[in-house]
Symmetry: C2
Subunit: 459 residues, 2 copies
C-alpha cells in the first residue's frame, strides 16, 4: 500500500482549483474531532457535488489512497480523525437542502447540511426533523446518518435510522448507488439503507439523503424537577417511563454536571441538588395539561421539586443550560472520557447510584447526564492528567462501567458509535462470529480497506 504525497498531484489535474489543499493549516484543522483525538491527513478535499465525490473516490481507489469522510468533526469517538495517512473528504460545501416536500413529508438534503439549519427551515413550514443531538447547531446530517445520531427527542421519536428513507452513496471505487425508497414503506431487497446508517463512514460516502419529516407538535411544555438524592430521580424516571406517558424529552443532570454548567455560565439550576430532570411534553394542549399534572405528581412522590417554564424565555433558559453541558465539562477537564452507555430503564437507579459509588471509590470525578428516559447516560469520567496514574485508573474505570452496563443488559454506546476510541472494547459486547460478519460486509463493500480504515474493528 503506497500513500505518498506525490500521488496527490493527480487531484490537482482532476479537481477544480480550490477544491483541494495540502497546506499544513488545513491539514491540522481537519485532523481532529470532539473526541480529542487527532491525526494529520495527507490532504483535504471539499467536493461540491456527487460527481466530485465520485471522481475523488475513483482516484483514491486507483491509487490505493485511504480516505476519511468528515462532516463537522463533532463526533465523540474519532470517527472523522485519520487513523493512518489519509485524504479527508470534507462535506461542508455539500450543504444544500435540495427539496422539502411537506405533502409527502420528506426532505432531500446534501450530507453537509447542518442539522440546526434544516430544523429552522422546517420550523418555518410547521414541520420538524426529530433527531436533535446536543451538537445540532454545528453537526451535519451526513455525520448524523453515519453515526445514527440520537438526541433528547429520540425518547419519543426514535433515532436517525428511523428517519432515513433513502441514500445516494458513492462506493469505494467511485460508483454511485441509490438505496431505499421515497415512500412511507418499502421492502424490496435487503435493507441497505439501514446498513449504511450507523456505519460510521466505513462502507460508502453519502451524497444525498432523503429524510422523513414530521408535523410540528401543537404545543410543548418544559419542566425541571430537582432531587436531593439521585436515587429518587432514578426512581421517578422509571415511574414516568412506565406510566403510559411518553415525554418528548426526559433528561438527567447530576450534581457534578449542574455545578459545571453553573461555573461555565450561571443558570437557573441551583447547585445544592443531587440531580435535575428536564422533562418536555409535546402534544395537544388538552393532553399536555393532564400529563403535566401526572408527571408533577410522580416527581412529588419521589421528593422531587418541580417547576414548569411559564414562557418561551424560561423554556429556552432550561435548554441553554442543558445544551451547554459538553463545553462546560470540557472546560473543567480537557481529558474527560465521554461515554454513552444505555441500560434498561428499570436499571436506571441502580446504575446512577453505582456511578456515584465508583466515583467515591476511585476518587475520580464522574459527571453523568443524558437521555434518562431512554436509559442513555453520558458518563464523563474525569481523571486528572497531572496526577500520576489517574489516566490509567480512568481507563480501567471506563472498562468496569462498560462491564456493569453489559451485565445489566445494556449497551456500551447509544449514540456515539465505536470509531477509534472504543474499538478495543467492541468485543465486550459483540461476539466474534457477529464481528466476523461485520468485517465480511466491510470487505465486500471496501475490499481494499480504503474508506475510513482503523475504525469500529479492533486491529
Amino acid at each position: 500500500m503506497k500513500n505518498k504525497t506525490s500521488d496527490l498531484r493527480i487531484f490537482d489535474r482532476i479537481l477544480p482549483a480550490g477544491m483541494y489543499s495540502t497546506e499544513i493549516e488545513d491539514l491540522i484543522c481537519y485532523g481532529y474531532d470532539a473526541s480529542g483525538h487527532s491525526g494529520v491527513p495527507l490532504a483535504v478535499v471539499w467536493p461540491e457535488n456527487t460527481q466530485n465525490v465520485s471522481d475523488i473516490m475513483e482516484i483514491a481507489y486507483k491509487n490505493d489512497l485511504k480516505i476519511v469522510p468528515r462532516g463537522a468533526g463533532s463526533g465523540m469517538t474519532g470517527g472523522s480523525v485519520p487513523a493512518s495517512p489519509s485524504i479527508i473528504i470534507s462535506m461542508e460545501r455539500m450543504n444544500k437542502i435540495l427539496e422539502i416536500d411537506t405533502a409527502n413529508m420528506t426532505a432531500l438534503v446534501q450530507p453537509g447540511v447542518i442539522n440546526g439549519h434544516l430544523q429552522r427551515e422546517l420550523k418555518e413550514l410547521g414541520y420538524f426533523y426529530p433527531p436533535d443531538p446536543a451538537s445540532m447547531e454545528f453537526c451535519t446530517i451526513g455525520g448524523n446518518v453515519a453515526e445514527n445520531a440520537g438526541g433528547p427527542s429520540a425518547l419519543k421519536y426514535g433515532v436517525t435510522k428511523d428517519y432515513v428513507l433513502a441514500i445516494e452513496a458513492v462506493l469505494a471505487d467511485g460508483s454511485v448507488i441509490n438505496t431505499g425508497v421515497k415512500t412511507a414503506k418499502g421492502v424490496v431487497g435487503y435493507d441497505l439503507t439501514s446498513l449504511l446508517v450507523g456505519s460510521e463512514g466505513t462502507l460508502a460516502l453519502f451524497t444525498k439523503i432523503r429524510l422523513r419529516i414530521m408535523r410540528s407538535p401543537e404545543k410543548t411544555v418544559t419542566m425541571m424537577a430537582l432531587f436531593e438524592n439521585i436515587g429518587d430521580a432514578g426512581n421517578a424516571i422509571t415511574e414516568i417511563m412506565t406510566s403510559g406517558i411518553l415525554p418528548r424529552n426526559l433528561e438527567i443532570m447530576d450534581r457534578t454536571t449542574i455545578s459545571a454548567i453553573n461555573s461555565f455560565k450561571p443558570s437557573t439550576l441551583p447547585n445544592n441538588v443531587d440531580a435535575a430532570l428536564l422533562i418536555e411534553l409535546d402534544s395537544s394542549p388538552e393532553t399536555i395539561k393532564r400529563e403535566s399534572k401526572e408527571i408533577a405528581h410522580i416527581c412529588a412522590e419521589y421528593k422531587g421539586n418541580i417547576n414548569i417554564a411559564r414562557n418561551p424565555t424560561e423554556q429556552a433558559e432550561l435548554w441553554t443550560a442543558r445544551r451547554s453541558i459538553s463545553p462546560a465539562l470540557y472546560r473543567i477537564n480537557h481529558d474527560k472520557i465521554n461515554e454513552d452507555i444505555v441500560v434498561p430503564i428499570t436499571m436506571m437507579t441502580k446504575m446512577l447510584l453505582k456511578l456515584k459509588e465508583l466515583s467515591h471509590k476511585t476518587g475520580i470525578t464522574i459527571a453523568s447526564f443524558g437521555h434518562a428516559g431512554d436509559g442513555n447516560i453520558h458518563v464523563n469520567v474525569m481523571p486528572d492528567k497531572s496526577k500520576k496514574g489517574d489516566m490509567e485508573i480512568g481507563e480501567s474505570l471506563v472498562k468496569e462501567i462498560f462491564q456493569i452496563t453489559l451485565d445489566m443488559g445494556g449497551t456500551i454506546s447509544g449514540e456515539h458509535g465505536i470509531g477509534m476510541t472504543k474499538s478495543k472494547y467492541i468485543g465486550m459486547e459483540i461476539e466474534a462470529p457477529v464481528l466476523d460478519i461485520m468485517r465480511g460486509i466491510k470487505k465486500l463493500m471496501d475490499h481494499k480497506n480504503l474508506i475510513n480504515p482503523g475504525k469500529i474493528f479492533p486491529s
Copy 2:
C-alpha cells in the same frame, strides 16, 4: 450439489422421533403458501428449540441440503415455498412467548408465536405490539420479521423493523449468533438486526426475537367514510394525511372490493359506493374528539358520507369487513395476482384513477384496497383463467402497474416482499450495482446458497 433423499436418513439419527417427516401428506401440506405457488419439499422438520435448529442447519450444511424456513405459510410471494428440492424447517412448535417485560417495554418470543396470540397476551397487560398484518390471526412473528410485515397500524406506528430490537439467529453452518440490543438505543457495529429483518428467510433462521412493545392507547374511534367517486376518496386521503392528524389506520376499499366482501359475508358496507375509507384514531379522549370532527369535515368537503362506530360491536363489524377482504377476493378469483405497491401520498388519487382506467381498458377486473394513509395499495389483478390470453394480459398489466408506480416515485412492494413471484421484477426498482451488493451479502452469509435459495434474486 446433491439433494438425495438418502441423505435425509441422517436426520433420523440426530433428531428426536416425531421431529421430522417425509410422509407425502406432510410434504404437500408444507409446500404451499398464500401466493398460490407450491412445490414438494424433500422433508419437513419441526424443531423445538435453538439447539434443534442449529443441529438441523449443521447437518444440512455438511450434506449440502437446501432448507426453507416456514412460519404459517401466509406469505404472498412464495417466500416459504421450496423453489428447488429442500427441507422445510417449520417453526410452528417454537411458539412460546418467553418473556413480557412491561417495565422495559419489550417481549422476547420464539419465531413461531402467532401475531394475534402475542396481541391478546399484551392486551391483557395494557400493552400492544403495533404490526398487525391482515393475517394476524395465523401469521407468525418469525414470518413477520422475515418479511418486515406492516398492517393497517403501520401508518401511525411503523412496520416490523421499527419493533425488532434483537435477534438470536442460526447461520448456514449451524452456528448461533445474537444481534441487537435490549435497550431503547444501541449503535455498536453495523445494524445486522435491520439487515435480517426483511431478508425473507435467505440469510439466517431466527430462533428468538426481542420486540419493542407499547402501552395501549387510551381510546380508539373507528369511522367509515363512503364516496361516490374514488377520486374524491383519494383527495380526502391526501388532505387528511397533510392535515397534521396522524390516524392509527386509514384504509381504502374500492367498489370491487366492497362487492366481494358483501358476497362473501354481508357487511354494513353499501354496494353502491365507489370507495370506502376506514379510519381509526387512537389517542386521549379529548384529542380524539377534536380530530374526529376535523376528519369528518375533510371527508364532507370531498362529498364523503361519514359514520362513526357508536360501540365496540359496530367497531368490530367494520374491522370484520376489512379483514375478510383477502378470502373474499380469493373466492371470486383463485388466480388473482395480489400486489402491494406504494406511491407517495400526493399520488394516491392519480394512482387510484389510473387503476380504474387500466381495468376498463383491458377488461380485467382490478380490486384495490389497502393502507391508503401510507400510499400502500393492495392491487388485485384478476384475470379469468378460462379466457384464452387473459392470464398473459394480467401479467403484463402487473408489469405496467409496477412501471407506473416507479415513475410516480413509488416502490413495487410495501409489505409482501419479493420472494419467488416478484424476483423477475426486482431489477425494475433496484439497480444492478445495488443488487450486486445484496447478492454479496447473501454469499457472505450463505456461501453454499442453501438457505431459501431461488428467492429475491432473479436467476
